[in-house]
Symmetry: C3
Subunit: 297 residues, 3 copies
Amino acid sequence: MVMELLVTTSLFLPWPFSGISCIIQGCIHHRGQSGFHIKLNMKSLITADFSAAAVLITFGALLGKVSRLQLLIIAFIEILMFAVNEFILLEELKVADAGGSMVIHCFGAYFGLALSFVLKRPEDTDNNAKEGSVYHSDIFAMIGTIFLWMYWPSFNSVLVSPAVDQQRAVINTYLSLVACCVTTFAVSAFINTDRKLDMVHVQNATLAGGVAVGTLANMIIEPWGAILIGFLAAILSVAGYKYITPFLDEKLHIHDTCGVNNLHGMPAILAGIAGAVAAKLADADDYKDRFVINNIM
Amino acid sequence: MVMELLVTTSLFLPWPFSGISCIIQGCIHHRGQSGFHIKLNMKSLITADFSAAAVLITFGALLGKVSRLQLLIIAFIEILMFAVNEFILLEELKVADAGGSMVIHCFGAYFGLALSFVLKRPEDTDNNAKEGSVYHSDIFAMIGTIFLWMYWPSFNSVLVSPAVDQQRAVINTYLSLVACCVTTFAVSAFINTDRKLDMVHVQNATLAGGVAVGTLANMIIEPWGAILIGFLAAILSVAGYKYITPFLDEKLHIHDTCGVNNLHGMPAILAGIAGAVAAKLADADDYKDRFVINNIM
Amino acid sequence: MVMELLVTTSLFLPWPFSGISCIIQGCIHHRGQSGFHIKLNMKSLITADFSAAAVLITFGALLGKVSRLQLLIIAFIEILMFAVNEFILLEELKVADAGGSMVIHCFGAYFGLALSFVLKRPEDTDNNAKEGSVYHSDIFAMIGTIFLWMYWPSFNSVLVSPAVDQQRAVINTYLSLVACCVTTFAVSAFINTDRKLDMVHVQNATLAGGVAVGTLANMIIEPWGAILIGFLAAILSVAGYKYITPFLDEKLHIHDTCGVNNLHGMPAILAGIAGAVAAKLADADDYKDRFVINNIM
């Protein structure tokens, strides 16, 4: 039971480091200029928050394996790496990533899984009794799920240019989440031999649609596109919890405490692929004079 | 205790159907036109959410009596009926219903109670031991109550025209909720023989003022009008939990699991009556050139 | 355990009285004018909410010592005193207090502590077994802490003039909270002999930075200023829980149930001092034509 409080206090750890993120981003933006002033505005605070979100995702793969001091060191290094990765993707490669699926979710998940591979101890397995949930944890987790579900459209649209693009990002995210939620319930009941719902699926896979539509949330993908992405994300995520997490644990010795590969990793890869397809199919006429898709930076 | 998780996951069920609501409303709005394009914007998503809210209210009368599969079928049919009812009230009869008290709360509650009458099994009574709450459920329910209380002014004003009308809707809803909250505490202590507060009243009746002022939230009803409505709603709601729910259960064989008649049904009827009175008394001079009261559609 | 529900329902008590606050403020604003109309708008509702916040802080010092009826009487009197104090500070002395640290937090905390001194019974001591927390209370309290942390920047900026000033208030509050959060974790681990974190510190002292920067949130204090204030607030608050609360309890017979002196009282005094320093150092050129700093009224 002490696990719960450990998790709750650990969630506080990355936020302070978002302050460091502001400094690093300030340095990156001022490269080659004389003088040195870091501008702080809403955008830089939101980007800093996003970098903290990547650290939280990483923690999801590591909780229980590492001490709080180790988490602090990991957070410090990851914020640096996050800024470098974001700079390469968004500034150099000019990648479109409205909701940060690649920059935040994919990076955070696989950063955590790589660390988990290195730091795994013999007792870190899915069979560990402490890994199961207790009844009240499930209720608390549902509160978290509901809030994430509600705020995901805001998350995916906050750094998109206002009005038309932002409304499109909200609607696409909402449709993807709705499709993901239905599919998760159906697949979870279908995949379990007793036809019951698995609370882990309900708490996690219902959110995968938000990750999977993140990269292309502000693109013109039509409602059926958003719904298709949410549908695929749910199947991927539920199948991940059922088959891939145990496989990674047993065969590859990668232990994933909260299943971040299923909620963040694989749906983010789906987002990257879907984003590339949508960008290839995009017609400049549809976007008219607003063809520049906004990055999160 | 499994009830809690059943309730929590059931709350997710209606949202997917809100997608269906978008399609139905698209069909209604395009009747008689050539071509077929459904426009999705913030308003259609909010209306879809509102239809999901009606389904949630219906579930409140049915939880524990029906299987999840039955809930799915009910949700599907209710979304269709919701759209028909909303079309008749708002489009044909041109009824003013800013916060949807009639369209959402009244419809949802009595749809549920009618189903409850039909589906009632012998063991569904107020005397069922599973119907009582446990200590931690009460705390969780208080979190829900506080969030509903906080967001009710937004709920009643979201589809009202911005600035003046919206501010009026927020203030009227807030005043009604405040009056309702005070009155609930007083009446609950007064009505119990041991002068203690009943947690069911605190969790539910404190919100009845938001329902009861919904229809006329954006009308000029003066602060005393909003406070009077909240005051009456609290008395109605507490008396409902104390006397009317047992009466319905024993005499009419209508079992109301969460007491939706007390929080949604009767306060919504009050809202309809108060709305009719306020519309009758409305003076075009007060509203000046903005006499058109906005519907939620 | 009944304490939890008592606390939860007590949190509802002050809100109704915020309605009284609207009336009192209406009277104050119309002094010396003929006619009598109280204008209700968003600002008057927010100010009324703020007065309810002061009452909630006061309750933090009194919970467990007084009956609900006594709480009602206290809330009624405090709302009146709040309006008088606010009028003197903001209207007569023209004090700048953007986030209301002096008007809300300082007033609420010491109003409560004075009452606690008068109302203390022999059994009200820190050694009372009921004063400890149970595991689930700690989890619930963390939900409260996280929501307060998230919304504190909004709290400190809501009544500041929009755009530039408001953005500055948000950023200063955020930086102060971040610095406060880091420092709390460090100091809490350092101050405990077993180097463990104390949940009371994590739940409370992490928020002290928001109080301590409240008065000067919209002033030009540079990021280092905001961070310094958060740093000092955390040390003050953790040291308060560790040393000052037991001292007040044993030596001065002032019992502080929730430690409001540590989260609200002393950080608010720090805010007042920091605000005076910042106002003294303020350069009219920096603020250009916007030298008028906005009060919360």
